[in-house]
Symmetry: C2
Subunit: 356 residues, 2 copies
């Protein structure tokens, strides 16, 4: 460890949801304190943080006070307003860095960046007008998905175009936001790699997991992924290539489609990732600790997998199943302490363990 | 689960050290919030708690406000003043209950209770005066250990009597406190069992670990303990007997000597226990979560061991080894965020993992 933050230093975390919550716990495990910045009241991360700032991302006074109070800054989501990042970065280091945010905040820039790295991505074209959409459909074909370039998550800001006449409705769904048309990828499975890179350039990846979505929301991740060993190793190499190209520091989630032509990169997330929650019960060092290690300047930890795991998200009324899950063996429950179980809201997850 | 506390309920924890810290994290993992009561400033548990009360145990106003703010009360140490317990218990349930505290707060009552349960303990006698000590030595023989009946921990309040003439110095070491003379037990190993009992009487024990002390402080715990399987099972049965007799709710640490005559109970601790820290990386559900489950009325979780573990305490300047430990494989580090690394102070621990 060349120059890690001293024990007791404060890690500022932008965003107070479940990812920030689990990052806070990991920070504490390594002897650090955390300070959450979150506009919403009573954030889940606040229950386990040393301090919380409740303010909006355009509150310069609050941002300055937050930066003053912390030693380093990280985040649990990528859609942080640029003006806030500019101010914070002038006062404290931010990991992962701005380049990773610039690339991942805009699907058009992301796809361009990844394909320039020589990686396979879905065919894509930028779309702002009906005319551009029409040309994009001619070029890419149907079916396809029209997505807002920025601020999409969990299937929000997306519209399918099964046939050319769907174009008008799809464009209306974008509500005037700059969009990207992506061609359909014919895939047999979606896998993801959670990879980490330290400040001195060490890269470590967790075993790829296989993801199943429902209604645009991740439902389960299963490790090991049921794909040939060669593809699992390809997936790790792809993740390492992206991390190195970005001179990345921290954990990244890389979603990949398994196709007859090999792996196609779906998207990258410059943060800990829902599909990496299995690491909490499958590895000695999980994705949250790996991220904190990178952010504070520690070497990465031992992310070898010691168990087969199926992670299942508990969404909305799934919370009613906690009583049953609490009694069943080999189940590790992780609840987020959210006040209200709304439909589609991630309330917790369960890691089901099998010894490997 | 008949009537567990609802998600988001607040668990009051008396004591803000590393045990309270790890209990807070476990509470959060199950969706609960924690509120620490601790006289000392900047307690380690405060970094991961939803709220902290800094006040002394004779501050009735603070105790009342604390009890008002929480749904249930537990503790990380057994030496809580009786007057504070009386007040708190009149307002909120306390788990583990008063009987466990009454028994474990006084070595004389503890030894008497355990032997009346039919369990083997070291020969013992109450001592307050030089005359009583002399009679006790006649009865029990030397060598022996004179200990204060109350408030001893990590070897504090103890004096060895190797030969009869040591008696005077040993008694002076008690500084007038009521004491107990315990005969030396000729043991080949010390093991401990971390056992839990739920509100509906379900009992579950973790695999016994083997403890090595240095200077009265726990240095390492190794699982599995290197003792015959029969003794491991005896140890679990002894722990279950004690928990059931006390109608206990929560986790208890039971320290046992391995002797030619079988297992001799050294002492019990009505709380999570340093020798149970290995469970954090050796089991799906660790001792801290098991304790919280019992306290909030959940069923106990799956405490089966999936790995061989050596837990080593990081004491005082051991903290300087963190850099080396951070880089070594199969090491799970747990640091407590304490401000100053004093000699003899527990600063963290490391769990070294071997797949079993």
């Amino acid at each position: 460890m060349t120059n890690p933050l001293p024990s007791g230093a404060v890690i500022g975390i932008l965003g107070g949801g479940q990812l920030g919550r689990m990052l806070s716990v990991a920070a504490a495990r390594l002897g650090y304190r955390s300070h959450i910045f979150e506009p919403g009241a009573n954030p889940p991360a606040g229950h386990v943080a040393d301090a919380v700032t409740t303010a909006s991302y355009d509150d310069e006074t609050a941002l300055r006070a937050f930066a003053d109070a912390v030693d380093v800054i990280t985040y649990e989501f990528e859609n942080i307003p640029t003006s806030a990042l500019d101010l914070l970065e002038s006062m404290r280091p931010i990991y992962p860095g701005r380049e990773a945010l610039r690339v991942s905040q805009d699907r058009m820039i992301e796809k361009t960046y990844l394909s320039e790295l020589g990686l396979q991505v879905a065919p894509f074209a930028a779309v702002e007008t009906a005319d551009e959409l029409s040309k994009a459909i001619d070029q890419i074909g149907v079916p396809g998905i029209l997505k807002t370039r920025r601020f999409g998550y969990d299937g929000k800001g997306q519209a399918r175009i099964m046939q050319a006449p769907d174009a008008e409705t799809a464009l209306a769904d974008m509500q005037g936001a700059p969009a990207i048309l992506e061609g359909f990828v014919n895939f047999s499975a979606e896998i993801s790699v959670i990879a980490a890179r330290s400040q001195d350039g060490q890269v470590s990846a967790f075993d790829p997991g296989e993801n199943v979505h429902e209604g645009g929301i991740l439902r389960t991740t299963t490790v090991p992924a049921n794909v040939p060993a060669r593809l699992r190793s390809d997936a790790v190499l792809i993740a390492a290539k992206i991390l190195n190209a970005l001179d990345y520091v921290g954990v990244m989630g890389v979603e990949l489609f398994v196709t007859a032509q090999g792996l196609v990169v779906n998207e990258i997330a410059p943060r800990v990732h829902n599909s990496g929650h299995w690491t909490q019960n499958g590895c000695v060092v999980d994705q949250f600790e790996q991220h904190i290690r990178a952010v504070v300047g520690w070497p990465l930890g031992d992310g070898a997998r010691h168990a087969d795991v199926v992670m299942e998200n508990l969404i909305g009324s799934d919370l009613e199943r906690v009583s049953e899950l609490a009694s069943s063996g080999d189940c590790a429950l992780h609840l987020y302490g959210k006040a209200e179980a709304k439909a589609g809201r991630k309330m917790g997850h369960v890691n089901r363990i099998k010894k490997s």
